[in-house]
């Protein structure tokens, strides 16, 4: 055994002590933050101007209505379909016998009301050709692995979601749901620009298909860690008419400024107190640079939804955010899905169950891969590193 559990226990105890102090501090901050939200202006135009004029180092949510707004649970349609996709993958193994990856996309389609039925399935895709394994741009050639493979999986999830949701929408009201954030978190903000452009173009094309067919889409984030609205409250605390951290605040002073009080708080903590079960918050435009600059009609907006057991962040493209009917549909269906799923959307749970690749299946995949190579008389070998891990000789 290499892990020194005694040392870990000591550190875990320190962590728990620290957490207790942080919780208490955060409780006091939370009270102040709620007071700040209470005092926020009703006029969001004025707020947007102030946000637009500010220069802060932290991203600020832009409210489309007053940040104080609380929207009650809208009525849910009698009959509707909810579609979700999720994915998992087996990464290419540089030390393995053949360079390839496997992406498994799970789809759950559940119809309620007059035509109650469900369809759960999964679709595996093996990537082994040159065009699957590498993204090329001029002389650049990048192996699709790690976050690039995550991105490719995101794209496949979105494609399948759009295909299925558009098909279901022919029979009636349909909502498409994704897990996690709507943006391509796997590639946005880092990595090669040509890869980001390529992936983004594909994602936006699927969102555009959904928009053209009038099928609302959303993504669901359980226990969100974002602080975009907290940052808005920080801006409201700024004593300067036009915030400009670099110019107006000395680096040494920043921690003692009023805006620093709310650092460490999360949007979810505030809305957990602000909203009642079933209510949703105002809709905000995500301050993420890539979304604002590159997503066009699909700029990412979000709201918080109190589903009963927690407050979750729901992201929608701007064209959904600006359509009250769509927004009400997202709100009512997601709330109902959480009720049916014991706190988490049932449809996402089922899509995940269909997508997951278990440890045993991963091993089985390796065995099948090796068997195929042997049956074709193809010699194969693993790397010396892989071999040393298997042998672990004394």
């Amino acid at each position: 055994m290499t892990l020194d559990l005694t040392a870990v226990t000591r550190q875990l105890r320190m962590m728990a002590d620290n957490l207790a102090v942080v919780r208490q501090r955060s409780e006091n901050l939370l009270r102040d933050a709620l007071t700040a939200l209470e005092g926020a202006p009703e006029d969001c135009g004025q707020l947007q101007d102030r946000i637009g004029a500010s220069r802060t180092g932290w991203p600020i949510a832009r409210p489309l209505t007053s940040p104080k707004a609380r929207w009650p649970l809208p009525p849910i349609p009698n009959s509707y379909t909810v579609v979700a996709t999720d994915g998992s993958q087996i990464d290419p193994d540089r030390h393995g016998p053949a360079l390839c990856y496997l992406i498994n996309i799970g789809t759950a389609i559940i119809s309620y009301g007059d035509r109650a039925r469900a369809s759960l399935d999964s679709e595996p895709t093996l990537g082994f050709e040159e065009s699957d394994l590498y993204i090329t741009h001029g002389d650049r050639r990048v192996l699709v692995e790690g976050h690039l493979l995550d991105g490719r999986r995101d794209i496949l999830e979105s494609r399948r979601l759009a295909e299925q949701a558009i098909q279901c929408a022919r029979d009636g009201v349909t909502l498409a749901v994704r897990d996690g954030t709507l943006i391509l978190r796997s590639v946005e903000g880092w990595g090669e620009e040509f890869v980001r452009d390529l992936y983004r173009e594909q994602l936006l094309s699927y969102l555009e298909e959904l928009r053209c067919r009038g099928v609302p889409v959303c993504s669901y984030i359980s226990r969100p860690r974002s602080a975009d609205v907290v940052n808005l409250l920080r801006l409201l605390r700024c004593p300067h008419v036009q915030a400009d951290c670099e110019r107006l605040c000395e680096p040494g002073e920043r921690d003692s400024r009023p805006c620093a009080d709310f650092v460490g708080l999360l949007d979810g903590q505030i809305y957990r107190r602000w909203l009642s079960p079933g209510q949703r918050s105002s809709v905000f435009l995500s301050p993420l640079r890539a979304s604002l600059d590159k997503y066009g009609a699909h700029r990412v907006c979000f709201f918080y939804l109190h589903v009963g057991s927690e407050v979750t962040r729901v992201e929608v493209p701007e064209w959904v955010a600006l359509n009250t009917d769509y927004l009400d549909l997202v709100h009512s269906i997601l709330y109902e899905q959480c009720r049916r799923g014991g706190g988490y959307p049932r449809v996402l749970m089922e899509a995940h169950e269909k997508a997951i690749i278990t440890g045993a299946e991963r091993q089985q995949f390796q065995t099948m891969l090796e068997a195929q190579l042997v049956s074709r008389g193809l010699g194969w070998s693993t790397s010396e590193k892989q071999r040393s891990k298997r042998l672990r000789g004394l």
Binding site: A108, R346, E353
Partner: protein, 201 residues
């Protein structure tokens, strides 16, 4: 289930097979054959006959057990309508004990030369088929010697009751079957009485 349809109903597909019994996955959670009813599988030149010896419904994924969901719902059908995905997550399987086979016009009350194929289609026997197959009762001995996991006496009695029903409740058949069971269990009066009580009307 309806036994007297002119054409037999396809209800399941074999997922495990041996000489003496097979396991089949039912196509529909609600179309489940009765315990002790007669089913047939076509295997190339043979029609293999079997008696349903066990039916069970469980989660497809052994790691995911069904959870109670209906506390606020008035009736069970409503619960299924409200949660349409449940049907996709459950699987009903039947085990059938092989009791004979038909090759051309010849019906044999002993085990077939080979088990049915995996993915073989399982049909409910029509009333006619049950009547033809149960003209003789040698299959009761095959049934009694089978390795079925359920209580064999229960299975024997249920098969006789099903055959008797397919024969329109003929008293003669019941008497004949009773005699056959008496011969088979001649050394065990307690078991014999148990079976006779289960088929007695």
């Amino acid at each position: 289930m309806e036994r007297d349809a002119v054409t037999s109903m396809r209800i399941a597909e074999i997922i495990e097979a041996s000489t003496t019994e097979f396991v089949a996955q039912c196509y529909d959670l609600d179309q489940v054959p009765d315990f002790g009813s007669f089913v047939r599988v076509r295997d190339r030149t043979l029609d293999i006959y079997a008696v349903v010896s066990e039916v069970r419904t469980a989660s497809i994924d052994p790691g995911r057990r069904p959870m109670a969901r209906g506390q606020d719902v008035d009736d069970e059908d409503q619960l299924y309508r409200d949660n349409p995905e449940i049907r996709e997550l459950l699987r009903t399987e039947l085990t059938a004990t092989v009791v004979g086979f038909r090759r051309g016009d010849e019906i044999n009350h002993y085990l077939p030369p080979r088990p049915p194929r995996i993915h073989g289609f399982v049909h409910m026997c029509t009333g006619d088929e049950v009547r033809t197959f149960t003209t003789r009762l040698d299959f009761l001995q095959t049934l009694l010697a089978s390795p079925a996991r359920v209580a064999l006496d229960e299975l024997l009695a249920a098969a006789i009751r099903n055959a008797w029903q397919a024969r329109g409740g003929e008293r003669e058949f019941l008497v004949k079957a009773g005699k056959e069971v008496a011969l088979l269990l001649t050394n065990d009066v307690n078991r014999l009485n148990g079976v006779l009580r289960r088929i007695g009307r």
